[in-house]
């Protein structure tokens, strides 16, 4: 697998779009968190009573939750990168050439799956750094409490990225896969979730939608009871997210192994 990853690295190393997107993502996480941090600070200085409602979102251990929630909105970036990397191969027909040159289909899709896991690890690591930075900025002492959020951040990243990979393998067109990824994640899933939860009173059904399950794991840091009434327990959600990840990997792999390329 290490050799396969080395080849994957040769493909990515000089791909400028990849680096631009990655830097953009990196900077975005920091800026978004900084803005949120700044707003909270100003609100508290100007209306001291607000501290009662807001709490301190950026002190340990709450900071993991806050950073995780903020950065979850940015997961569409690495999702798009995954779609691009996969669809590029189809566009250039290099997925064929790699196999012609002596990779098995299992190896080709296997290394893409490994790449997603590596991305998810890097994203988690980036979140840890951001959390540590803003946590210490708030002058609170580091505790191990709340670090379960780091695990949630990791499986949320896995869920988003594998969802993106599956779309890329199924649709083979970057625009189509990206549009579906955005439309579904940002609009349709919210609509369906809101409909089932508020209108049809089918909670917790709406919380178990593919991306929603991981979103609810890291709910909005304030007023979560309003936004997510009757949300299911974390263990149920974790199981659901892991089940989804398994399904995404299964379908992406299956499709790649048995179809004409």
């Amino acid at each position: 697998m290490l050799h396969l990853l080395k080849i994957e690295w040769l493909k990515i190393k000089n791909y400028r779009v990849f680096w631009i997107f990655s830097v953009f993502y990196l900077v975005s996480i920091f800026i978004v968190t900084y803005i949120a941090w700044y707003i909270e600070k100003r609100t508290k200085t100007e209306i001291p009573e607000s501290e009662m409602i807001l709490g301190s979102s950026f002190s340990f251990p709450k900071v993991w939750h806050t950073v995780g929630w903020l950065s979850s909105w940015l997961l569409y970036f690495p999702g798009m990168i995954i779609i691009m990397l996969m669809v590029n191969e189809v566009n250039f027909k290099t997925h064929r050439q790699n196999i012609i040159d002596g990779w098995s289909r299992q190896q080709f899709i296997g290394v893409k799956i490994a790449l997603v896991v590596i991305f998810a690890v890097l994203i988690t690591f980036l979140n840890i750094l951001t959390g540590l930075f803003f946590g210490s900025l708030s002058g609170s002492d580091f505790t191990l409490d709340g670090t379960s959020y780091i695990f949630y951040i990791f499986i949320q990243a896995l869920a988003y990225l594998f969802f993106a990979l599956m779309l890329a393998v199924l649709f083979r067109r970057s625009m189509l896969a990206i549009v579906i990824f955005f439309l579904y994640g940002l609009i349709f899933e919210w609509l369906i979730a809101a409909l089932t939860t508020y209108q049809l009173k089918l909670a917790p059904l709406g919380y178990f939608l593919p991306l929603q399950a991981s979103d609810v794991l890291i709910p909005i840091p304030f007023g979560e009871k309003v936004f997510y009434p009757d949300s299911p327990g974390t263990s149920a959600l974790v199981i659901a997210v892991i089940a989804y990840i398994t399904l995404y990997v299964f379908f992406a792999r299956k499709k790649f192994l048995i179809d004409d390329l």
Binding site: H3, K6, I7, L10, K11, N14, Y15, R16, V17, N88, F92, K93, T94, R96, Q97, N98, I99, I100, D101, G102, W103, S104, R105, Q107, I258, D259, D260, L261
Partner: protein
């Protein structure tokens, strides 16, 4: 001669369309094996199946008596349909990737780039290459690690006449080293010039396969085609028309083309004319070309 590739009853459907229908043939070791057929006849589909990028609807294939595998493909240099490379990478970086996948090491890269005259442009991005350069990079890639089997799909596609001649010479040269070359082409001339064996495919059906000589012979029956000329073409024509077994006589600008059955040879024609007092200024026995045979096998153009 042992068999490098066995194709056994391959059938492939794309939805309701049958692209290949029960195609079977063997590729002997050390041959230059041409797969000949018009566009859309199923050549690329067949090569795609034996390289595991397309799944056959039924039938199977064996490389050197074994089922196809990634390990096996590493020992085969293949150019399929179009040159497939990462557009944003330079030629040499693309070859790095190919060499790593083939597990061949990078020491061959300089040699193969020189061989196809791309060394000077090795650091240019693939997307800036002309069609001919892309094709040459793809051919360079197939030569990495000096494989014993090469598969070329339309290898001279997009090349200029000099490039075409170079690639043909390269193919002959590779074959002289005892390597087996499988080459798909719709260009008869190309197949006739470099191939020792040929399989003719039309609309997914195998029409004929064997050595080029066999294919030409089976269709030749005992027909002789001769071009003749003399000072007095009219008199010559009269003599020809008296010969038993004349099948066809075509008058060209400065010669006649005659076709005989009955095994009449050029010597007999020459003697006959001389006896009748006509001296031939031209006598040319035409070997039937693969093109004629191909058209006989596959029918007229409109039938394709």
């Amino acid at each position: 001669m042992s068999t490098v590739l066995t194709i056994d009853n391959l059938t492939k459907y794309y939805g309701p369309i049958r692209a290949l229908n029960n195609v079977s043939f063997n590729v002997p070791e050390g041959s230059v094996f041409g797969i000949l057929g018009p566009n859309g006849s199923g050549k690329t589909t067949m090569l795609g199946i034996i390289m595991d990028i397309l799944k056959p609807s039924s039938g199977h294939y064996l490389w050197k008596g074994q089922r196809g595998s990634a390990k096996m493909r590493q020992q085969i240099g293949t150019l399929l349909e179009t040159p497939n490379f990462y557009h944003y990478l330079s030629g040499i970086r693309n070859l790095h990737i190919a060499a790593e996948i083939k597990q061949k090491g990078r020491e061959d890269i300089e040699k193969v780039l020189h061989l196809v005259n791309l060394w000077q442009r090795k650091d240019s991005k693939f997307s800036t290459y002309s069609l001919g350069m892309k094709q040459r990079l793809a051919i360079a890639s197939t030569l990495l690690g000096n494989p014993d089997i090469l598969v070329f799909d339309e290898p001279t596609n997009g090349l200029d006449p000099a490039g075409i001649a170079e690639i043909r010479e390269l193919i002959r040269q590779i074959n002289r080293q005892g390597k087996t070359i499988i080459m798909a082409s719709h260009i008869l001339d190309e197949v006739e010039k470099v191939c020792t064996h040929v399989a003719i495919i039309q609309k997914g059906e195998l029409k004929a396969s064997g050595s080029v000589k066999e294919i030409l012979d089976t269709k030749q029956v005992d027909e002789t085609v001769i071009e003749i000329a003399a000072d007095d073409l009219i008199a010559l024509r009269t003599i020809m028309e008296q010969i038993d077994g004349l099948m066809d006589l075509t008058v060209a600008d400065h010669h006649l083309q005659v076709a005989f059955t009955n095994g009449i040879t050029a010597t007999e024609v020459n003697r006959l004319c001389f006896e009748k007092g006509i001296v031939l200024s031209r006598l040319n026995v035409k070997r039937k070309s693969l093109e004629t045979t191909f058209l006989e096998i596959t029918g007229t153009k409109s039938e394709r």
